[in-house]
């Protein structure tokens, strides 16, 4: 499957116009100027496929599912044709020693040029024994693979920020890719799972412009993570009007009012769900009536109850009774001491006479 992308797409029955249209939409989603769609299409159509190595660590394969197994064949899946996916455990036919050989061959052949995609966190506990492939720890594999990579794409919240494995009490000592690799450009595409179009957007950008897209302070492409779910939410007008669903089956819920009070984490979650949507544009969590869980943010699992509004305490204040009792006791003690002091002053006092008026 060598040769320009457009040819392989054509073989699969994808016309040039379909591709152009897709690129226009992709450019729009990445907040690139409309003309970039055409440029992107031309660049990608003619691009040579870069070698890509995909390493799965402590993960659930949900990210792979999200990106490769949409319910009907889509361009997200097909775009993988523009890369040479040399190692992907879930997808590759090879197994065992064969697979390991393929990995090493690809790393050697494309040293310094391949893209490394990682999903899953890396456990550090017990010398990394919690997750090993072919007898080698994830940490060891990552370090080796990272050395020859041109850039690393951390797909999913686990790879980007540690994700669910890192949730308290973090039994495996899970960390993110960026906790380990410090000397390579890393793009984080968080989400549990991440929005597929973000992945293709980043690849398209890399192929078109030869560089990684603009990233925010958490290593996420600004084009997709620049705004919060709340900012782009179609239910936002209800928030502004103060109309909230109070339960999942009340009048407000049926009318599609804001889910803030039901614990929606949209206001603090940066992701593209509200615009890119899921399942080929069918819907997304808030549209289907459930608040955002905030899955694309670091440590979202430990950020308080999923069903508690952001403005309420993460848990009921535990100090109320104790503080009141201690306060009352301390206050009463101070009160007694003060009364005693006043009484002592009264007893000790000598009535004053005119003579006392002199200094």
């Amino acid at each position: 499957m060598q040769g320009p992308l457009i040819e392989s797409l054509a073989r699969q029955g994808v016309s040039r116009r379909t591709f152009l249209k897709y690129c226009a939409t992709l450019a729009s989603m990445m907040a690139l100027p409309p003309a970039a769609g055409l440029a992107m299409a031309e660049a990608m159509a003619a691009a040579r496929r870069p070698s890509v190595i995909w390493l799965p660590f402590q993960e659930c394969t949900g990210c792979t599912e999200s990106i490769t197994r949409s319910h009907s064949p889509t361009l997200e899946g097909m775009i993988f044709d523009m890369i040479s996916l040399d190692y992907q455990e879930t997808l590759m036919a090879a197994a065992g020693h064969q697979a390991e050989e393929a990995l090493h061959a690809a790393m050697k052949a494309n040293h310094g040029k391949y893209l490394l995609i990682v999903d899953g966190s890396i456990p550090l506990g017990q010398d990394g024994a919690y997750s090993c492939i072919g007898g080698r720890s994830n940490l060891e594999i990552l370090k080796e693979a990272a050395q020859g990579a041109a850039a690393i794409i951390a797909v999913g919240t686990c790879a980007a920020y540690g994700g669910i494995p890192k949730a308290r009490p973090n039994p495996t000592g899970a960390v993110s890719v960026s906790d380990i690799v410090k000397d390579k450009p890393i793009v984080n595409i968080p989400g549990c799972p991440p929005v597929p179009v973000v992945m293709t957007g980043v690849l398209a950008h890399y192929l078109t412009f030869g560089s990684l897209p603009d990233l925010d302070d958490k290593g996420r492409p600004r084009a997709f993570f620049g705004e919060t779910i709340h900012d782009r939410c179609y239910r936002r007008p209800f928030y502004d009007q103060g109309k909230f669903a109070k339960t999942f089956d009340d009048k407000g819920a049926r009318r599609g009012w804001c889910l803030f009070e039901l614990g929606c984490k949209g206001p603090v979650t940066h992701n593209a769900c509200a615009t890119a949507k899921w399942n080929g544009g069918t819907s997304w969590p808030v549209e289907s009536g459930h608040g955002c869980l905030g899955c694309s943010e670091p440590d979202f699992w430990d950020a308080g109850d999923f069903y508690k509004a952001l403005s309420v305490p993460a848990h009921p204040p535990t100090s109320v009774v104790a503080a009141s009792v201690v306060g009352a006791t301390a206050g009463a003690a101070a009160g007694f001491a003060n009364r005693a002091k006043k009484n002592a002053a009264r007893k000790a006092r000598q009535p004053i006479t005119v003579a006392d008026l002199e200094k």
Binding site: K218, T228, H230, D231, Y239, D240, Q241, G242, F244, F260, E261, P267, V268, G294, E297, P298, D299, F300, D302, A303, G304, K308, A309, L310, S311, V312, P313, A314, H315, P316, P317, T318, S319, V320, A322, A323, S324, V326, G327, A328, A330, G331, A332, A334, G335, F336, N338, R339, K342
Partner: protein
């Protein structure tokens, strides 16, 4: 610590600490103040004090005779910022949620735009009060570090809340966390600064009102 962890901390342990200190301090100080007691007035009253203490509690909320003209900034600014704070705290949807969560009591709120307007007016009034404190000789003369500190501690929750909602200066998550943190600082400072007048003003007005009512003077 990233901003979501920061937010989680201020919503959890931070709030616990602040509410704890606030309650402890408030209960303790109320005891400390009101257990000092007072001597019974033995003079025959002109008329029974009755509910005069309560009358004074309400009457003192209005500018006394001729005073509005003498200190317009203090009164108008004071009204706007006290009422503004009450509107924001008790009628802003996220705040009602908080109260409902803590007490189980809930009521309808006002639209976000209205709360936004109230916030801007409150901040303007507070700035005017600050300028007045700097300009007016008596006020400036009385001012100590505590006065400037308390002004800032009161202003910051309003400012950070507004910045968070308007998405200004810092990302929403950070601003929201700062907003909650600033409220926690306010809670901690309240029992130990002049902010404690939110409680003692009732006692003070009551004492003044009932003592003078015995003489027959409505104050």
């Amino acid at each position: 610590m990233n901003e979501l962890q920061f937010l989680t901390w201020v919503r959890g342990p931070g709030l616990d600490i602040a509410v704890g200190i606030f309650l402890l301090g408030t209960v303790w100080r109320l005891f400390e103040i009101y257990t000092l007691g007072r001597r019974k007035d033995l003079a025959a009253p002109r008329r029974a004090a009755g509910a005069s203490g309560l009358h004074t509690v309400f009457r003192r909320s209005l500018p006394p005779h001729g005073m509005l003209k003498r200190a317009p900034v203090s009164y108008i600014g004071g009204y706007i910022f006290h009422i503004g704070l009450a509107v924001i705290v008790f009628l802003g949807a996220p705040h009602i949620m908080l109260i409902a969560n803590l007490t189980g009591l809930s009521w309808p709120g006002l639209p976000a735009q209205f709360i936004g307007l109230a916030t801007v007016m409150t901040m303007a009034a507070m700035l005017a009060m600050l300028v007045d404190r700097i300009n007016k000789p008596a006020k400036r003369f009385l001012s100590t570090f505590e006065d400037w500190f308390v002004w800032a501690v009161t202003f910051l929750p309003v400012l950070t809340g507004w910045l968070a909602v308007q998405h200004l200066l810092l990302p929403y998550t950070t601003m929201l966390a700062l907003h909650i943190l600033s409220v926690e600082i306010l809670l901690i400072a309240l029992p130990f600064t002049k902010l404690f007048h939110v409680f003692t003003l009732f006692g003070s007005r009551w004492h003044n009102g009932s003592a003078n009512a015995r003489k027959g003077v409505p104050v």
